[in-house]
Amino acid sequence: MFKFLLVKLAQLVPTFIGVTIVAFAFIRLLPGDPILLMAGERGISAERYAELKAQMGFDRSLVAQYFDFLKGLLHGDLGNSLVTHSPVMDEFMSRFPATLELSLFALAFAVIIGLPAGVLAAVKRGKTLDHTVMGVSLTGYSMPIFWWGLLLIMLFSSTLGWTPVSGRISFMYFIEPVTGFMTIDSLLAGDWGAFLSSLHYLILPAIVLGTIPLAVIARQTRSSMLEVLGEDYVRTARAKGLSSFRVIMVHTLRNALISVVTVIGLQVGLLLAGAILTETIFSWPGIGKWMIDAISRRDYPSVQGGLVLIAFIVMIVNLLVDIAYGVINPRIRH
C-alpha cells in the first residue's frame, strides 16, 4: 500500500510541474505587455515602467522568472489581484468554501437520487422503469446546465416564488464566517432561521450543479450493477436461498460500488467546471464566479492563481480517488 502511494505521488510530480508551467506561461502569452496592461488606460512613465519591470522581475531571464514564480507558489504567494490589490491566495481562500459547500450539496443530491435510481434500473432491467431512468439520465447528461438553471429560476423563483433567485443567505441574517460554510456557521451561531435560510438559498443551485453528476452516477451504477449481477458469486448467493433484497444490497451493490465510487470522485473536475456556470447564474459568491469576473476584468494574476489552485484541487482529489480505489479494491494495488 505504501509503495502504491509513493508511485501515485511520483506520477503526480510531472503533472504538477506542467500545471505550473501552463499557469506561468499564461500571463506571458497574453497579447500585450503585462505592465502596460496593469497600468491600464492611464499609461505609465518610462522610469516607472523600468522600475516596475525590475520589481516584478520581468527584466530577468524566463527561467529565472519561472523559478521565482515557483518559489512564490510554494510559499502560498500568488501575487496580488489587479482589481482589489489584495493577495490572490486570500481572495481564493475566502471564496472557496462557498464553492465547496455548493459542490458537496450538489454531489449529495446526485448520489442520493442517482444511486438508488441506477440500482432500480439494473434490477428492473428492460422494464419501463429501466427505460425511464435511462431516458431521464441521458437527458440530464445532455443538459445545458446554464439553461436548466434559468428554467428552474423561472419556474420556482419567478412563477411560484418558492426559492430565492441569487445569493447565499437572506440579507436579514448576518453570520460571522468561521468555517465559511454558511450552513455550518449558522448552526454554530445557533441561529435556526439563518440555517433554514441558507438551505433555502442552496437548494436550487445544488440541484442545477448536481444534475449532470446525477446522470453519470445513475448510468454508472446501473452498468456496474448489471456486470456484478452476472457474476458467479451472485448466483451462489441466490442459490443459497438468500432473499433477493439481501442479494442485491449486500452481494451486488457492495461490489458494484467500487467503480461507482471512482466515478463519483471523478465528478470533482466536472463539478468545478459546472460551478463556473451555476455560480454565474445564481450569483453564488464562489470561485467560479470569481474566475469569470477576473477574466472579464482582465485581472490576470487572479486568473493565473485560480488556474493553478483549481488544477491542484482536481489533481489532489483524483489522487485521493486513486487511493480510495486501491483501498476498497485490493486487486488494483499490484
Binding site: 503533472t15 508551467i21 501552463v22 439553461w147 423561472m154 463556473i276
Partner: protein, 299 residues
Amino acid sequence: MAAISTPAAPGTFRYQLASFWSDFSASRGALVGLIFIVLILLVALFAPWVAPHDPAMQDRSALLVPPVWHAEGSWDYLLGTDAVGRDILSRLIYGARYSLSISAMVVIISMGAGIFLGLLAGYFRGWIETVITRVMDVVLAFPSLLLALGLVAILSPGLTSAMIAIAMVQLPYFVRLTRAAVIGEKNREYVIASRLSGAGHLRLMFNTLLPNCMAPLIVQATLSFSTAILDIAALGFLGMGVQPPTPEWGAMLANAREFMGSAYWAVTFPGLIILLTVLMINLMGDGLRDALDPKMKRS
C-alpha cells in the same frame, strides 16, 4: 420490403457495413437520433430557404411577441420575437449553422491532432510517449470549461478562439484512446506481417494500424461533438464565445436572460434546441458504441 439482394460474403466491406447497420438500427433511440441529426443538418444547410425571416432583421413593431399559440401571438413569428423584434425561429435555424459547423471543426481538429499524437505515442513508445502523455495529463488537470475560458482570454473572445480552445480541451481523450488502441494492435500478426514485408513507419501507422483503431475513435467523436455543442453554447452564454449579434444559441440565451420574467420563450427555445441536439447526438453515440464496440455491447 424491397427484394433482398444476395447477402454479402463475410469479411467484405459490404458485409461489415451491413452487420454494422443491423446492430445500429436495432436500437430505436439511435435511429431517432440519426434522423434528427440529418434533419437539423439539412435545416442548417438550407437555412436561407427554410428560415421565415432574416435572422438579423429587427421588426420594431413586434418586440417580444409571444409564440403563435398565445392569444397575442402571430403567425409571422411562430416562436415569438426577442427584445429587438428579431424572429426567434429564424435565429435558431441560422444558429444551427454556427453550433454545428463550429462543433464539427472542433471534432476535426481535436480528432486529427489527437490521432496523430496518439499514433506517435503508441507506435514509438519511449520518451515520445512519456512527453505526450504527460502533456495530456496536464491538460486534463484543468476543468475543461475553465481551461477553455483561460485560452479564450489569451486569444481574445470570438468564434475562432472558442473553437481552438474547445478543440484543445477535447484533445487528450483522442490521444489516450488512439494510444491505447495502437498499443493493443501493434503486436498483432497482420501488423508484423506488414512490417516484415517492408512497410515503413508512416505506412504502418496510418495504413495498417489506424483503420483498425477507428471504432472507439468514432464513438468518441460523437461524444466530443455533443460536448463541443454544449461548451460552445456555454462560452457564448458567458460572453466569451461567439459574439452578439451572431445568432449563436448560447449567446441568444445570454441576451434573453434579462427578459426571463416577461418573455419565457426567448429563454426556453434556444436552450431546448441545445438540449435536443445534444441528446440526439448522445442517443446516436450510444447506438454507435453498441454497434462498433463488441466489448461494450448490450450492457
